[in-house]
């Protein structure tokens, strides 16, 4: 059973939700979800607070608190009961509780996707294009017929690398990668996967 802990400051900020009507509360929850997805707009916070007639600072801190709640719960992939147990600490009203749970469940996958984008990782491969040419002549040699592969590799950090390879090399690389792929279906991997879970 995994629960999120809020420090006193955060508890105070989130308990602000209790004082609000359901409509208002759900609006703030929506703002914090958008905030998480990257649509953070300080002006929006200002508009919301003036429209709802609430002190802007309190609204802002409440939004931060909710972001923390959603970040942690997505990170840990909390189950429904764990999530409800965690928000018990801020003792929300029944309606707010339901609203929070619904927002969490609806957006959890997307939030996890955003978090994994932010995680540590090496640039990944975007695409590999190849072309088979036959080298016929150059300034110093003529009359040859050497097959040569031209390759272009694009990685996710927008790098493009051009290189060439001859047939033997390409074949051995392909074989190596096939072996690598087979590893993901091997017994050893399955065992480790089972033990870690």
């Amino acid at each position: 059973m995994v629960i999120i802990y809020f420090n006193n400051e955060q508890k105070e900020d989130l308990q602000f939700l209790q004082e609000l009507s359901f409509e208002v509360g759900s609006k703030i929850v929506q703002v914090s979800i958008d905030f998480f997805k990257g649509n953070y707009n300080p002006k929006l916070l200002q508009n919301v607070s003036t429209k709802l007639n609430l002190p802007q600072l309190k609204v802002e801190r409440c939004v931060y608190g909710l972001s923390y709640l959603f970040t942690e719960s997505s990170k840990l992939s909390l189950s429904k009961s764990d999530f409800l147990e965690s928000i018990n600490a801020i003792s929300p009203t029944k309606e707010i509780e339901e609203c929070l749970l619904e927002s969490y469940q609806k957006n959890r996958e997307e939030m996890r996707r955003i978090l994994s984008e932010m995680s540590l990782k090496l640039p990944s491969i975007d695409s590999l294009q190849w072309r088979l040419d036959v080298q016929i002549s150059s300034r110093r040699t003529s009359n040859e017929a050497k097959p040569v592969y031209l390759l272009k590799l694009k990685t996710s950090d927008n790098r493009t690398v051009w290189f060439q390879a001859d047939y033997n090399e390409l074949e051995s690389i392909t074989n190596q990668l096939e072996i690598a792929l087979k590893e993901s279906k091997s017994q050893h991997y399955k065992r480790i996967k089972k033990y870690i879970k």
Partner: protein
């Protein structure tokens, strides 16, 4: 095959060099081309030292150019001999030259001409590693395999550059499929 006037001239200049020296001259030329000797050999040879240096230079450079041009145009010993006969070079010399050429032109080709073409970085080696991601400080319970691939690319001057990237199982599958297509393309060619 076309040769400049000065090169052709060097063949006629051969007449000024005593016949006894021809063989030594040829050994020098092919030695230099095979990278087994250099011009300092001239100092070591009594007979070559006696020849006027301007003359020697001209004949030497002319003959080297002829041999290299012949290799570039893929002539075999016979065609070279034929070509030289048409230029009125001394017959005996032509015979010696073509024989030496026939024995060595493959080797010279490998040493010189195939390594001076320009090319892109060349793929020479691959290393791969498979990891299983458990969690990170941003997200837990990831539970996915990831592959790290490391390609070694060699530049013309021999320097090796490493190209590293990661991919998941699907991307690796796509990569393997693409490479297999590429390999198959060559098989249908020959």
């Amino acid at each position: 095959m076309e040769l400049s006037k000065s090169n052709l001239n060097s063949l006629s200049l051969l007449k000024k060099i005593p016949k006894s020296v021809h063989q030594e001259l040829l050994s020098l030329i092919f030695g230099v081309l095979l990278q087994q000797a250099d011009e300092t050999e001239i100092e070591k040879s009594q007979s070559l030292k006696q020849i006027d240096s301007t003359l020697l230079k001209e004949v030497f450079s002319g003959l080297i150019t002829i041999v290299i041009q012949a290799i570039k145009n893929n002539l075999n010993a016979k065609s070279l001999a034929q070509f030289l006969k048409d230029t009125n070079a001394p017959t005996e010399f032509v015979g010696l030259l073509s024989t030496a050429y026939g024995k060595t032109f493959q080797k010279i080709k490998e040493i010189h001409l195939e390594t001076t073409g320009f090319y892109l970085k060349k793929l020479i080696d691959i290393n791969w590693r498979m990891d299983y991601i458990i969690k990170s400080n941003k997200i837990e319970q990831i539970d996915k395999p990831v592959y790290f691939i490391d390609l070694n690319l060699q530049k013309k001057d021999g320097q090796i550059e490493k190209l590293k990237f990661s991919c998941d199982t699907n991307q690796l599958q796509d990569l393997v499929t693409t490479l297999k297509d590429a390999v198959l393309a060559k098989k249908t060619l020959k």
